[in-house]
Symmetry: C2
DNA sequence: CATAAATAAGACAATGTTGTCCTAATTAAG
DNA sequence: CTTAATTAGGACAACATTGTCTTATTTATG
């Protein structure tokens, strides 16, 4: 349904939001989100190219959000990785119908649209502020199922 | 977003619904829906194995719906081809949280759920009954953008 | 029974997604 | 200026999706 890459991108962005506006290294993000490190690197590069993240090379560098969590929605992230693919013209060859999709494709697009709207209306701030503790096996309060997203205490 | 196979399956099923309860050959379905014939054959086989379609081999045979269009929803077809993949347990390793997904995955699942609901609430009858003509270049009234879904007039 | 019309099924190819690994390029700090 | 910590990027591999082709198998009909 939603691709693995979208899942990974959202984990990373939520984690970055939780420590925003600080930057984190790919390693730190990988550890917190349990995403395969080498692939995470690719995903983060993609998000940077799409203007969601910015990066700083070299010692003390890392990756951080471009916008504040308040200004960033789940839809922004999803669209940066893999646009939802709204149906705007008839997928059969028929000349572009614009607003006049056939009944089937109209309904398919409607379904995509409600999902799009659900994503658009959720900012990262909202995700972080969710009161749902949701972590039976740990008492860490975290947006990513308790996988180490507690803000780093102090520099090792 | 929705796979190509889902798109093809829905075209085929909508077409079959439009002539229900008659059977149609794979060839006829392919012509009406503009789906690559050899691949359509695979998709139809899948739908038959999932109990959405039934088939009759040999001369005069073909493929037809198992249920009436009234009893068949878009969700039935989508789930037969490629289940929507609701998120029921934490995708990170954390022991199954059941109803207690973390805030991020709860919202992802919510989005999938609204899409699922949109599909569940649409029967094929509804699609066929849609008053939207939607065919600028043709005055054929059809649920598939005018691609030849007018009921066969008479046997060749 | 022979034939032609159909679906069923398997092998194969092309492409996309996911993932790994190695080498470059950048940069802070001693 | 050298070193170590980082991101950037390219080559490659494994697997899934999409698509084609060929060969069975079934079945109505003359």
């Amino acid at each position: 349904m939603l691709s693995q890459t979208v899942e990974y991108a959202l984990r990373a962005v939520v984690y970055l939001a939780s420590v925003s506006p600080d930057a984190q290294t790919t390693n730190e993000i990988g550890k917190a989100t349990q995403v395969p490190l080498a692939y995470l690197s690719k995903v983060l590069q993609g998000l940077r190219q799409e203007g969601i993240l910015k990066s700083q090379r070299g010692v003390g560098g890392g990756i951080s959000l471009v916008r504040t969590p308040e200004e960033l929605t789940i839809l922004d992230v999803v669209n940066a990785v893999e646009p939802l693919g709204r149906i705007t013209t008839c997928p059969l060859g028929l000349a572009a119908h614009g607003a006049h999709l056939c009944p089937l494709h109209k309904r398919m697009d409607d379904a995509i649209q409600v999902m799009e709207q659900a994503f658009r209306s959720t900012t990262l701030t909202e995700v972080l502020a969710d009161p749902n503790p949701s972590i039976p096996l740990s008492n860490i309060r975290a947006p990513l199922c308790g996988s180490g997203t507690t803000p780093p205490m102090k520099k090792k």
